[in-house]
């Protein structure tokens, strides 16, 4: 059975483009122009993944509301914010509402498709019994590449998809400096320097919530970041 993806986007041309691109990857697409119609449909049947814009028609924060309601209906449903708004505040708010990823519209369709695929893979992995095949351990850090789960000293660290890929890229080769471009490639995303910096900051903060002494991601000024054990 085809996986069903809901796209909630008020810009018709964009909505159609996303729908067409994802349909090409074999997904079944339901596209909605505003929060109300989307919510009606979700109440009838939940999609397997939702891609939501933040501002929806006349509701500037409609996407956030929708995310909240959707999360209330299902804890596992992968939700991706795809928005023109790129402020740090929006990103933090979106992720805090339980979104799995926060993308700006700069993301290319192949990158979007890669994310969608990754998220579905993750859902599948979570449903399967434990398979320790793709687990990276670096000291206190343990990364499950399939389930996209990260633990630090055994405590779970909840990362967005982009953040997970960044951590994954850094931790796989400790000591190696990853520059911003490498991190972007790893995260299947095109971001500007500032955004990478904020991602790193957010990742550090999330680890520090678990362990205040966390200092494994080191900035190499002008070059990038590296994982130190």
């Amino acid at each position: 059975m085809k996986k069903q993806i809901a796209i909630v986007e008020d810009e018709p041309a964009l909505r159609e483009n996303y729908a067409a691109a994802l349909a090409r990857h074999g997904y079944s697409i339901k596209a909605y122009g505003n929060r109300q119609t989307a919510m009606q449909a979700f109440n009838v049947r939940l999609p397997d993944l939702a891609i939501i814009d933040i501002s929806l028609e006349d509701e500037a924060e409609g996407g956030f509301d929708l995310c909240r309601e959707l999360r209330a209906l299902s804890a596992e449903l992968p939700i991706i914010f795809l928005t023109a708004r790129d402020s740090e505040l929006d990103a933090v708010s979106g992720l805090r509402l339980g979104a799995d990823d926060f993308l700006t519209k700069d993301v290319s369709l192949p990158h979007l498709a890669a994310r969608v695929a990754a998220l579905f893979r993750r859902i599948d992995a979570l449903r399967r019994p434990d398979n320790a095949a793709d687990i990276v351990r670096r000291g206190a850090l343990s990364i499950d590449g399939e389930k996209m789960q990260t633990t630090w000293n055994g405590a779970a660290v909840t990362l967005s998809l982009t953040e997970f890929w960044i951590v994954h890229a850094l931790a796989r080769n400790p000591g190696h400096v990853k520059n911003r471009q490498q991190l972007m490639d790893a995260a299947n995303v095109v971001l500007d320097d500032n955004t990478i910096t904020s991602h790193i900051k957010r990742v550090r903060r999330k680890f520090q919530q678990v362990d205040t002494a966390f200092d494994a991601i080191q900035t190499v000024y002008g070059m990038g970041y590296r994982w130190v054990e």
């Binding site: 041309a13 964009l14 483009n17 519209k105 369709l109 002008g222 070059m223």
Partner: protein
């Protein structure tokens, strides 16, 4: 010319007040003078009329109408106030006039002066005769030769001849030759006519005292040298002797009754000789006023330069007034007279008796009273107008200073309203004032507010544009993505690739446009951490060497770690901008130098390059938002936000960002200062 100076000049026009006051005072004085003239003339006429009614108390009957002639031996008899000592000196006569020379045909010189008291006629004779020839004991006046003075008086009983001579200078008596009963001439002494013979080195003085009863209207006096070298005077046998002109006895007292204090009345005869005088010109209150100099007379006093000077002779009066009066016309005149050439008013009225002009009454009055009046008025006027002018000038000056201070304040504020950082100061001084300066200030405020709105709009335009254009750009790009996935032919793919390149450029333009907004946002959310600037620079410069392989980098760092509190990411970002700039402008053979040093309580982080100098005019504006002067040297878009971002980040750290040319002109230095921890 400054407003202050302009208003000061305007204020100086109040100097017209004292000038007008002076003009008024001058007119006042003219009127006063004219009225004084009239009153003095009236006084003179009154006295003349009074005197005309009693001519016998004024003039002696003259025996002829011939004019006074000193050459003919005529003598003015000075009135004496006190009886002098008979001592051969005339100093105690107290007459300033010199004796008049006696007529002579020889080289023998003698001078004579006459004066009288109530009872005596005094004669004083000065003879230049160094050789004393004594009178012999038993003198034979006709034969003996000795120094002698012959005096012939026309008394009531006809002519009487006397002579003086002595062998022992001193008090002597007059001698006369009396024909005795025996027909022999005998020399007898007339004891009532006394004289003092004083022998001096130059000659001798003879002071004679003759009872008025001996004296008629004429006298003959002749000094004869004992050695026969000559004689001076009028010989006793000449028909016309010298006439004597007496002042009228009692006239002084009479005049005294007619005049006021400060006025002198003089009656002159037709020869202008004084026959009576009374009063004193000097006014009583002179002294006190003289002591304080009335300085403004120096530049606005009465012009006395063209006034005639009245020469004061002891025996006669002169001047236009007297001359006119002796022609029969009353006349008044301002003259300079007296010992100190003070301003005098003279008025003369003729005395006409029985249709014949006999003389004149002359009144003299000092202008002192007038001057005192005028001085008082002028002093007050001067003081008042000067105080008024001075106050006006001071007030105007203070006002002008205040106005120009306010305008200056406004100008300073206007000059600095748009700061070098491009920030606009919206509030101007004086804007709450109700006057025109306040209105000007409010006008400035409105202008600045609009400028600020505009600048604000421009500043946010980049962010807004980049945000608003993102969606359509995404539509284009996602459409291209979709199109590409449709399996296109190669030639179609070529166009897709070009369109994609276009969108990428658009993307980078939008990214650059929104950069400042993003930095402002990340500044808001930045946390300050303690970090080592040295480490940051070492690793950053290493990265730049990789990033800009064509450029040469030099780095100069202090030996010790340099800890600073701030956001290293942001700092790195501003360093990126400076390095990009430096690399862009640095010539191919030049070097970009990154230097860190401690300067007082700051770190100075300098990025220098050997590129072209910055024009002085641009220096302050480089760090403004949307300020871009560079000519396209590459294909990257420049919106003049790079250095603005550098500044934002420096200010976030509590520091500054400045640009300067190297002192030796070899390049450009950009400096970020950061405070030490």
């Amino acid at each position: 010319m400054s407003i202050r100076l302009q208003l000061l000049i305007v204020a100086l026009t109040t100097l017209v007040l004292p000038w007008a006051g002076c003009q008024y005072a001058r007119e006042l004085e003219t009127a006063l003078r004219s009225s004084q003239e009239q009153s003095l003339l009236a006084g003179a006429a009154t006295i003349a009329n009074a005197l005309m009614a009693q001519p016998q108390r004024v003039f002696h009957d003259s025996d002829d109408a011939r004019a006074f002639s000193a050459a003919a031996g005529d003598l003015y008899v000075y009135p004496l106030v006190t009886q002098p000592l008979l001592d051969g000196y005339r100093e105690d006569w107290d007459i300033s006039a010199e004796p008049t020379p006696l007529p002579t045909t020889t080289r023998y010189r003698a001078r004579l002066q006459a004066a009288s008291t109530e009872h005596y006629l005094y004669l004083y004779l000065e003879v230049d005769d160094p050789h004393f020839d004594a009178e012999p004991n038993h003198v034979q006046p006709d034969k003996d030769r000795f120094d002698r003075v012959n005096l012939t008086l026309q008394g009531p009983g006809g002519r009487a001849g006397y002579f003086f001579g002595t062998n022992a200078p001193g008090l002597i008596g007059a001698q006369s030759v009396v024909k005795g009963d025996d027909g022999v001439d005998r020399v007898v002494t007339e004891p009532r006519i006394q004289a003092f013979w004083l022998q001096t080195a130059a000659g001798y003085h003879l002071e004679m005292r003759i009872p008025l009863s001996f004296v008629g209207r004429r006298l003959w006096i002749e000094a004869i040298d004992g050695r026969g070298s000559g004689q001076a005077g009028i010989a006793a046998d000449s028909p016309e002797g010298g006439r004597l002109f007496f002042a009228t006895a009692g006239l002084d007292t009479l005049l005294e009754t007619y005049i006021r204090d400060g006025t002198r009345a003089t009656v002159v005869d037709a020869n202008a000789l004084k026959v009576g005088t009374a009063g004193n010109i000097a006014s009583r209150q002179r002294g006190s006023e003289e002591s304080e100099p009335i300085w403004y007379r120096y530049f606005m006093g009465i012009d006395t330069s063209d006034m005639p000077t009245l020469s004061s002779l002891p025996d006669r009066l002169s001047g236009d007034s007297v001359n006119e009066a002796l022609q029969g016309h009353s006349h008044a005149q301002w003259v300079l007279g007296g010992s100190s050439h003070e301003l005098l008013l003279t008025a003369a009225a003729p005395i006409v008796i029985d249709g014949q002009l006999h003389g004149a009454v002359v009144l003299e009055q000092a202008a002192d009273q007038l001057l005192a009046l005028r001085d008082r008025a002028l002093t007050r006027l001067f003081n008042l107008t000067l105080i008024a002018t001075a106050s006006a000038v001071i007030i105007m000056f203070a006002f002008a200073t205040w106005i120009s201070w306010r305008i200056g304040r406004l100008r300073t504020a206007a000059d600095s309203a748009v700061g070098s950082d491009g920030r606009i100061q919206l509030h101007m001084p004086e804007s709450s004032s109700a006057d025109e300066i306040g209105a000007l200030s409010r006008g400035f405020e409105r202008l600045l507010a609009r400028l600020n709105e505009h600048a604000q709009y421009l500043r946010t335009l980049g962010g807004k544009l980049s945000h608003e254009l993102r969606t359509p750009l995404t539509i284009v790009r996602s459409s291209l993505d979709n199109l590409e996935s449709e399996g296109l032919r190669d030639d179609q793919l070529r166009y897709i690739t070009r369109a994609r390149e276009g969108t990428q450029r658009l993307q980078s333009i939008l990214s650059a446009l929104g950069a400042a907004a993003r930095v402002e946002e990340s500044i808001k959310q930045s946390e300050r951490v303690n970090f080592d600037l040295r480490d940051l620079l070492v690793s950053a410069v290493a990265a730049y060497r990789d990033g800009f392989p064509a450029a040469r980098f030099a780095i100069e760092l202090p030996d010790n770690p340099c800890f600073a509190l701030g956001a290293p990411d942001l700092l790195l970002q501003s360093l990126d901008k400076l390095i990009e700039n430096a690399v862009d402008f640095c010539p191919p053979d030049g070097a970009v130098t990154v230097r860190l040093e401690r300067v007082q309580s700051n770190y100075a982080l300098q990025v220098t390059n050997d590129g072209p100098l910055i024009p002085q005019a641009l220096m302050g504006r480089l760090f403004e938002s949307l300020f871009e002067q560079r000519q396209g040297r590459d294909d990257k878009p420049h919106f003049g936000l790079g250095l603005y971002i550098v500044r934002l980040i420096a200010e976030f750290h509590g520091g500054t960002a400045v640009a300067a040319n190297r002192e030796d002109g070899s390049g450009v230095v950009f400096t970020i200062t950061l405070p030490l921890i």
